[in-house]
């Protein structure tokens, strides 16, 4: 029996998220028109909100399901394996954490009425001159490539020591939409002296934002381990079935060894991410370090697995038509979410010095 990957956290939530993810990914892959694609994503987003996914980690007293980190990990892992092209980590994990104590925003987020994009302090920009500034209650500046739910209604912005809520239809807000390399929606945002709702100010904002970011990094790792497991399975399957020179490709040692190397990287990453999940759930003060190491490893291992998948598929590896290849692109994109390798390396080096 060929290899089958075991989820880090399995169960019903994992299975459900996986099959919804697969359905969305498959449907989307068959649509060429951008407007229809957007409509397809929006439908799936509404369905997910309807199912209560976003309430997973919101405390019961705030109207949520009061789940734990492991519940989030099951959900995100399932979505990762299925290839759900929607910002689940942000919506279900990072935003609820960041917005804890703001029921007026959390409730509509959970219900799916607010579709919120998160703009963190460290968001990318095209030009230093565009850096976000918040003075006298007015927000100015521009950020690029922000992951977003379909048809965002709001942005939550962390700027300096402030946590802001901005409605998309506020005069002075301009957005340009894109698709990322993993097919997910994203947007550039420009703010020209707009009025914004200040949700919170002070040191606590930065602390909370840093925690939320680590949670995002950790869940992204969980998602990608899950996707990587699927990549391995699908690559093995492809090599067992593709015949060249009269024999299945799986008989060639060069390819077998490449797959063995993928597996070693996968296992190593899985071990590290599972460990980080445990230490984070236990709330240890050093958990951030485990997350940073995990994200660092994801950069290395994830890319190796993604690139090897493409290579082992030959020309098919260059097409968008295979789920394995779409998942590979997802893993490649993950490098740039919640701190890439150099960001993680830098904070670890600073702490070690």
């Amino acid at each position: 029996m060929p290899f089958t990957a075991k989820p880090i956290i399995g169960g019903d939530a994992f299975e459900q998220a996986c099959s919804i993810g697969l359905a969305a990914d498959t449907e989307l892959a068959q649509i060429a028109d951008a407007t229809e694609q957007a409509a397809c994503l929006r439908r799936h987003w509404d369905a997910i909100a309807e199912l209560g996914w976003i309430t997973t980690a919101i405390p019961e007293e705030a109207g949520g399901a009061g789940g734990e980190l492991s519940d989030l990990a099951a959900l995100v892992g399932g979505a990762g394996r299925g290839g759900l092209p929607l910002p689940i980590v942000a919506a279900c994990g990072v935003l609820p954490h960041l917005l804890a104590g703001h029921p007026a925003v959390v409730a509509p987020l959970a219900e799916g009425r607010f579709r919120i994009a998160l703009i963190p302090t460290e968001a990318a920009r095209d030009d230093e001159a565009d850096a976000l500034r918040f003075a006298d209650g007015r927000l100015t500046g521009a950020v690029v490539g922000i992951e977003t739910p379909p048809d965002p209604t709001h942005a939550v912005v962390v700027v300096e020591d402030a946590l802001l809520l901005v409605a998309v239809d506020t005069p002075g807000v301009a957005i340009t939409r894109y698709q990322r390399i993993d097919g997910r929606p994203s947007a550039d945002w420009r703010f020209t002296g707009i009025g914004a709702d200040t949700l919170a100010r002070g040191e606590a904002v930065a602390r909370r934002a840093a925690e939320a970011r680590d949670l995002g990094a950790l869940l992204t790792c969980v998602e990608c381990v899950s996707a990587a497991g699927a990549l391995l399975e699908q690559t093995i399957d492809y090599l067992l079935n593709r015949v060249q020179f009269g024999v299945p490709l799986a008989t060639h040692q060069a390819l077998r060894h490449r797959v063995a190397e993928m597996y070693v990287e996968y296992e190593n990453l899985r071990g590290l991410v599972s460990h980080a999940l445990r230490t984070t759930a236990a709330g240890g003060p050093e958990a951030w370090r485990d997350i940073a190491f995990a994200k660092l490893r994801l950069g290395e291992a994830g890319r190796f697995i993604a690139q090897s998948t493409i290579q082992c598929h030959g020309g098919m590896g260059m097409t968008e038509g295979l789920q394995a290849i779409r998942l590979a692109r997802r893993i490649m994109m993950a490098e740039f979410e919640y701190g890439d390798r150099s960001v993680q390396a830098q904070r670890l080096l600073v702490a070690a010095a």
Binding site: P2, T251, A260, N268, G271, S274, R297
Partner: protein, 392 residues
């Protein structure tokens, strides 16, 4: 299992012992990366033995500690953290368990005490010039004459043969259709007439391995472990134990810390700024991998304690830790290479250069290349993994 074990208290007990009882000159050998030899290992083994900790992995009835796997792992970890030498493995970790499992009562009485106390030093005679990865094609032959075997052939790569008393040896006792059959495990005294040992010059400049020639060496039949012709099974049993060694990542993490300190010291000058930060980053990548392996090692220990199968974990651990520790050694080489690689060996003396302090970093880099070759080479491990993953 009766009362629950307080692992934290156990860890403290081991640490106190290590810090108080392991002589500073022995710890210094480990801390400065010098070559371990019987001269260093033996006094430490004696101290452990006298404390009742001679054989952490053996059952109590044979003089072991009776510790569970987790305790043994903690012991190994603390030893590494405190710069104590890892115990010499050939007797304790390899042959001892085979004798305990398959040996006769007479053999247990004769051989186990010497291993435990460190009085007897063992080496492993498996590989031959024609039998490496394909070990089963070994040809050193033993023919029966009365109550003796007469052994004829050659072993190679025999680590520590130059300082050993005994060699546990795989020999061919009959020619069968299947080459794994007809192999037996003999315990051969190295001062037996007919044995000659020649050093092999290796790239690290240390004397580690040897060729062992066996010319009509007479070995009592009583020195055969287990059944005639079943040696392959015992050899495999032993190699399996060798493979779980990858679960102990602590010594590698300790080396990594030493290497980090080396970078800070060696590359402190501003002109080295880029080099230092590049190497520090590479080291961090290696650390992430080692931490991943450490987490897998803990999974392996938990699985073993719960009686679950380890599956591919030993191969995964061997593959990844061997390569990562090579990376660490390479980073150290890159830090000191310009200064020390040119002074590897003095021309007027044998061995490595005692006049160049720190030359061990270079030697260790060279020696470390073996990690992906012995104990089941990387390629062989990948074959094992692929076979399982593809199901063919």
């Amino acid at each position: 299992m009766t009362a629950a074990i307080d692992y934290d208290a156990f860890r403290e007990e081991v640490r106190d012992f290590a810090m108080m009882r392991c002589p500073p000159e022995i710890r210094a050998v480990v801390a400065t990366y010098r070559k371990l030899s019987r001269k260093v290992w033996y006094p430490w083994q004696k101290i452990l033995f006298e404390h009742g900790w001679g054989a952490p992995g053996w059952p109590k009835e044979h003089g072991g500690t009776g510790w569970n796997l987790k305790q043994r792992h903690i012991f190994d970890e603390v030893m590494a953290e405190c710069d104590c030498p890892p115990q010499y493995h050939h007797g304790l970790r390899h042959l001892g368990p085979v004798i305990i499992e398959f040996g006769s009562d007479e053999q247990k009485q004769r051989f186990l005490p010497g291993i435990l106390s460190g009085q007897d030093w063992w080496c492993q005679g498996y590989s031959e010039p024609g039998a490496g990865s394909d070990l089963a094609s070994l040809r050193t032959a033993a023919r029966r004459e009365g109550d003796e075997y007469v052994v004829e052939g050659q072993k190679t790569w025999t680590s520590h043969a130059q300082e050993s008393d005994w060699m546990y040896t795989l020999v061919r006792t009959s020619k069968e259709a299947k080459k794994q059959q007809g192999i037996s495990l003999l315990l051969i005294k190295l001062d037996s007439p007919g044995i000659s040992i020649r050093p092999i010059r290796t790239i690290d400049g240390w004397h580690h391995v040897n060729e062992v020639f066996l010319d009509n060496v007479r070995v009592p039949v009583a020195n055969r472990v287990g059944e005639e012709g079943q040696g392959w099974t015992y050899g495999k049993f032993l190699l399996e134990r060798e493979r779980l060694g990858g679960a102990n990542v602590a010594p590698m993490l300790k080396n990594l810390e030493r290497t980090r300190a080396l970078l800070a010291q060696e590359l402190a000058a501003p002109r080295h700024a880029l080099k230092r930060s590049t190497l520090e980053e590479r080291l961090l990548m290696a650390e992430a991998e080692l931490r991943g392996a450490q987490a897998l090692g803990q999974e392996a220990i938990a699985a073993t304690m719960e009686g679950r199968s380890l599956g591919l974990l030993p191969s995964v651990l061997k593959l990844s830790t061997s390569v990562t520790s090579q990376h660490v050694a390479e980073i150290a080489l890159d830090a000191v290479g310009e200064r020390l690689a040119p002074r590897f060996r003095p021309t007027d003396a044998a061995g490595a250069n005692a006049e160049a302090p720190g030359i061990e970093w270079v030697q260790n880099y060279m020696y470390g290349r073996v990690r992906t070759i012995y104990g089941g080479s990387s390629e062989v491990q990948k074959n094992v993994i692929a076979k399982q993953l593809f199901g063919i």
